[in-house]
């Protein structure tokens, strides 16, 4: 029971991992903040605790969700050190720094690069699908759209974050092998395909709603449908994707102003 309380306390503290993010040692104090209740429990001797705390003031940086794995494994190693079962305490920092990079790569590509965009694309799909009727037919749905994004993202990320901490406490270093067996790459690829399908569907609806028909002649008056302008801009935007987003944003604004000035 006491253990479950301690782990839950540490889990809550992981939300503050980056509260003192700094350019010199990045997440070091956040890491210490999460680990402190555990160190308080295992080191009753003040001097030994001080040494353990100082061990973790060095550079540390990883993905904030995946850090839970490293926190739990480090805690287990500290337990071994406190029990006298670890021959060299330097191994703790070695394991920490070895795991930080690969786990950051998994976290960045899965959570930042895949889950977040996919959850956002689902909301964007609904914005476009109901764009012409949000005011009249679905006033309550407008409120639901951003909540759908938050729900989808957090229903996946929060249990995973919780699970990372607990599974790593339980399995120790074996948790890395266990996580790697989860086929994250497969999940990541599937989510990306799903995201691509959603965004293509959104694009289809956008062209359908705003590209053709009456009321969709804001460019070139009635001469050509707006879909033609959208198509050209879409191709250019995709081809010029490597340019800065700010540059592209202002370029489109200036293009629109130029077209307006020329009466197109």
């Amino acid at each position: 029971m006491a253990k479950a309380y301690l782990y839950s306390k540490m889990f809550f503290k992981t939300f503050f991992l980056q509260a003192l993010w700094n350019f010199e040692r990045l997440q070091n104090i956040g890491f210490l903040f999460v680990l402190k209740p555990f160190l308080d429990k295992i080191y009753s001797d003040k001097e030994k605790r001080r040494e353990a705390l100082l061990r973790h003031t060095g550079f540390f940086n990883t993905h904030p969700y995946m850090a839970n794995v490293i926190i739990a494994i480090t805690a287990n190693m500290e337990q071994q050190a406190a029990d006298g079962n670890l021959d060299d305490v330097k191994k703790i920092n070695l394991v920490k720094s070895t795991m930080a990079g690969p786990l950051a790569a998994i976290g960045d590509s899965f959570f930042w690069g895949t889950l977040r965009p996919v959850a956002a694309f689902i909301s964007i799909f609904f914005v476009i699908l109901f764009s012409r009727g949000l005011d009249q037919k679905f006033p309550a749905f407008s409120i639901m759209i951003p909540l759908i994004f938050i729900f989808i993202y957090n229903i996946v990320h929060l249990p995973l974050r919780y699970w990372f901490l607990f599974i790593s406490f339980k399995l120790d270093k074996e948790s890395i092998a266990f996580i790697s067996k989860l086929e994250f790459k497969f999940l990541w690829e599937m989510a990306r395909y799903f995201g691509l399908i959603i965004i293509v569907a959104s694009l289809f609806f956008y062209f359908n709603i705003f590209g053709f028909g009456p009321g969709n002649t804001i460019f070139f008056a009635n001469a050509v449908p707006d879909a033609l302008v959208y198509g050209i801009v879409l191709v250019l935007a995709t081809l010029l994707g490597r340019f800065s987003a700010n540059f592209m944003f202002y370029s489109v604004i200036l293009l629109c102003i130029a077209m307006s000035y020329l009466g197109l």
Partner: protein, 212 residues
């Protein structure tokens, strides 16, 4: 509907703290915070549209490693706030608001970088405390880090909402008709730019049956 700039700046701070300082529950994403501000200010649909554009156009702006990208939470919050407060329901004004919010977001990034450098001092203070057996400095250091982040954000949002709002409406009223017409076109064209940015992001995806 909330109109107090002090309260709105506070809500904006809660959203922006989510970027780095606390949680990362994605409350800082434009698709959430722009409609939130739109809802609070009585025009959720403008917020949804601004959120959608920002989310797609700046899809590559991810804070990875030591990189501090442009703060898109502040772009979407400021743009929604200005357009809903001064010209509610006007699409042209919403686009001008987005265009004006970008320099403010760059300004905030500079403040953020300064703040992260300032955190080094707090970090050394904590380390010094541990050396002197003052372990409570770990909690206090974190508290001060969070407090200064919130204070910086609050000062920024108060400044941007008031002074930025003044610039926003004064300049908008001076625009000739063709510029306003251009912003009206941009309302429909910017989502397409966003789609382009998203599709570019998918350029490395491999279709299973086309894999070599």
């Amino acid at each position: 509907m909330i109109t107090s700039v002090f309260l709105l700046a506070f809500i904006a701070v809660l959203c922006s703290l989510d970027v780095t300082a606390f949680g990362q529950f994605m409350l800082c994403r434009p698709i959430f915070c722009a409609p939130l501000f739109g809802f609070i200010m009585g025009d959720i649909n403008t917020g949804l549209w601004i959120g959608m554009i920002s989310e797609m156009v700046w899809i590559k702006a991810i804070p990875m490693g030591v990189a501090v990208p442009i703060d898109i939470a502040s772009i979407s919050i400021m743009a929604t706030y200005w357009s809903c407060k001064y010209f509610k329901g006007t699409h042209e004004a919403a686009m001008w608001a987005m265009a004006l919010a970008i320099p403010f977001a760059f300004f905030y990034r500079e403040i953020d970088v300064y703040g992260r450098n300032f955190n080094i001092r707090i970090m050394h203070w904590v380390e010094d405390g541990i050396n002197k057996n003052k372990e409570s400095r770990i909690n206090w250091g974190l508290f001060w880090g969070l407090f200064f982040s919130a204070a910086r954000l609050y000062a920024f949002y108060l400044f941007a909402m008031t002074l930025g709002g003044l610039i926003f409406q004064l300049v908008y009223c001076q625009f000739p008709a063709f510029v306003v017409g251009g912003f009206k076109k941009a309302w429909s064209l910017l989502p397409i730019l966003g789609f382009g940015a998203v599709l570019y992001n998918f350029r490395n995806i491999k279709i299973p049956f086309m894999k070599k």
